[in-house]
């Protein structure tokens, strides 16, 4: 049967016209392959796209392409009054909502020049550290999942559920709680909350050990972690990397210790650091951080001072509900705050705090009105992700997946 006799579509003809024998192959002449990974790929932790140039299985070049989750939150914040911007800013890094809120509210408080009551500072620390544990649990679960260990995920999410229940009890929301307010926290903790937190704190260190036992004796896990993609502290510091990634390389930089804020100087805790700077150290540092956070929360609960949980300044914080029925001033303040919002004196500020992934730095420019003229979040996921090529070049493609997992980028924070 001749070709003409068959009813071929144009596609078939094109396919038949390809002659593979004409492709030349010279021994020793290795060809580079450019491979696209993502933006929808289960191992990229969100909509991250990586264009990888491969020489066999060795990565010669990788360029992350970001922006698929860009939501314009910084722009949106400019058209919202100061306290209405908190919910959108909390949604940047969606695993560290207390940290986003704390960075932003701390910056506004600096501009306003107001004191935060001691009880509010302690309540903030308690929630920040619980959030840190929650974020590390999600990181551990998803990282292990990337390496094929699904059971760790179920265990981590068991404890995470417990934490989210605690958040729901203290603020009404499981995620994006809007608990941190300008001048303090939204509400005092409810009755019975402290006991529930203590129940959680009693089991968490043991559970962290269990996860360590699950993974530290797993040969497959160790082979993909030990000695994989190490980096020196100097090179990471030059790239602006902060947080557990930097500490795993042996650099004990932690803003909670170095430049304390929100009464962190009252608590005793250690900064876990690594020695090799490889993937295993990055994993071990975070696992150890969970236990240190438990210690901080215990101390904060023990020493929780009495007093108001938000500033008494009525120009900044809403009056208590019972005052609205009896006080005209309270009603006026309430009305002003809810409609126009607070006016913040002209000025600029950069407020940095230590989050689960590194330095969350919020820059705010105020033009004297009730809306911020510019809000910028220095998100650690965004800055840390720059280090990907430096970490993985010259290593195997499968090591890149493992490294990306332990780098813990949250794409919501990368793209904002």
């Amino acid at each position: 049967m001749t070709t003409e006799a068959r009813d071929l579509s144009g596609y078939r003809q094109m396919e038949e016209s390809v002659t593979l024998s004409e492709e030349s192959f010279v021994e020793g002449d290795r060809e580079l392959l450019t491979l696209n990974i993502g933006p929808h790929h289960p191992a990229t932790h969100g909509v991250l796209r990586l264009v990888v140039t491969l020489d066999g299985e060795i990565i010669r070049d990788v360029s992350p392409v970001i922006g698929y989750l860009h939501t314009g939150i910084e722009k949106t914040a400019e058209v919202k009054s100061y306290w209405k911007a908190i919910p959108v800013i909390e949604r940047m890094d969606y695993l560290a909502y207390y940290f986003n809120g704390m960075g932003y509210c701390g910056a506004v408080e600096k501009l306003l020049g107001i004191e935060v009551p001691k009880r509010a500072q302690y309540l903030r620390v308690i929630h920040l550290e619980l959030n840190r544990i929650m974020s590390h649990l999600v990181w551990l679960g998803t990282s292990a999942l990337d390496l094929g260990a699904i059971s760790v995920w179920w265990y981590c999410f068991r404890e995470r559920e417990q934490l989210l229940d605690l958040f729901e009890m203290s603020s009404g929301q499981r995620m994006h709680t809007r608990y941190v307010q300008i001048g303090g926290v939204a509400e005092d903790i409810p009755r019975g909350w402290e006991e529930k937190v203590r129940e959680f704190l009693a089991i968490m260190p043991e559970r962290a050990d269990v996860y360590g036992d699950l993974l530290n004796k797993n040969e497959i896990f160790l082979q993909r972690m030990r000695g994989v993609c190490p980096a020196s502290a100097e090179s990471l510091r030059a790239l602006g990397v902060t947080g557990p990634l930097l500490r795993a390389a042996g650099d004990p930089w932690d803003l909670r210790k170095a430049m304390p804020y929100s009464s962190y100087e009252d608590f005793e805790f250690k900064i876990p650091v690594g020695t090799q700077g490889d993937n295993y150290d990055r994993y071990a540092v975070r696992l150890a951080e969970i236990k240190e956070s438990v210690k901080i929360v215990e101390q904060a609960l023990d020493g929780l001072p009495e007093g108001p949980c938000i500033t008494e300044d009525r120009k900044v914080a809403l009056p208590p509900r019972h005052e609205l029925a009896t006080s005209m001033e309270a009603l006026i303040h309430h009305f002003k705050l809810v409609t126009e919002g607070m006016r913040v004196p002209e000025g600029e500020v950069y407020n940095a705090i230590e989050g689960p992934r590194g330095e969350y730095g919020v820059f705010i420019r105020s033009d004297g009105s009730s809306k911020p003229a510019r809000v910028h979040m220095r998100d650690p996921s965004f800055v840390n992700l720059q280090a990907t090529p430096a970490l993985v070049e010259g290593h195997l493609l499968s090591d890149m997946i493992a490294t990306l997992a332990v780098m813990d980028p949250v794409i919501g924070g990368v793209d904002r």
């Binding site: 970001i66 922006g67 860009h70 314009g72 910084e74 722009k75 949106t76 400019e78 058209v79 600096k110 501009l111 020049g113 510091r237 030059a238 790239l239 602006g240 930089w253 170095a258 430049m259 000025g347 600029e348 500020v349 950069y350 940095a352 330095e359 730095g361 820059f363 420019r365 003229a373 510019r374 910028h376 220095r378 965004f382 800055v383 992700l385 720059q386 793209d415 904002r416």
Partner: protein, 166 residues
């Protein structure tokens, strides 16, 4: 954050040929410098132990002129102190030398400032848009860029939105 006297000392160390002024408030110490000298200014700050560049971000001072501004948030881990450096450029000639060759951490933040404000960083190794699509027109973080000023693309109107698929 250095106090007012410390800030003046720091400005003197940088040199009057590049410093345009200093701003000291309760919460911020900022040195504003000539845009063309930014690379040497940051090098001098590094010598003054401000060895970490934490953040590079743009600001739009509309309607003031010069409108656009780049802020460099410096951190000294020895002094446990922060100081900010700012450069202002006009909208019709928004060019600032890139500090990426000296400070690798500035790579993506400078791309973001280019994307959002249209500030051109000369000498940047790879100055492309980073968060917005490659074919996007305009710089959305500018103060005169309207919010919600573009159509949302749905299946029913995707062919009528010009240029989205090309």
């Amino acid at each position: 954050m250095p106090d007012a006297a410390g800030l003046e000392k720091l400005a003197a160390a940088i040199g009057p040929e590049s410093v345009l002024g200093t701003v000291h408030t309760d919460v911020r110490s900022e040195i504003s410098v000539r845009p063309e000298t930014i690379v040497s200014v940051l090098a001098k700050l590094r010598a003054e132990s401000y060895g970490d560049l934490r953040s590079v971000h743009g600001v739009d001072y509309y309607p003031e002129e010069p409108r656009l501004c780049v802020k460099y948030e410096m951190l000294s881990r020895e002094l446990l102190d922060r100081v900010s450096v700012s450069v202002r450029v006009a909208l019709d000639d928004p060019r600032v030398p890139s500090v990426t060759p000296d400070w690798p951490t500035a790579n993506w933040p400078e791309r973001e400032a280019f994307d959002m404000f249209g500030i051109v960083f000369e000498g940047h190794p790879d100055l492309r848009r980073i968060l917005m699509p490659e074919d996007y027109e305009g710089h959305p973080q500018r103060r005169d860029f309207p919010i919600g000023g573009e159509p949302v693309i749905f299946t029913h109107n995707e062919s009528s939105v010009p240029g989205w698929f090309e």
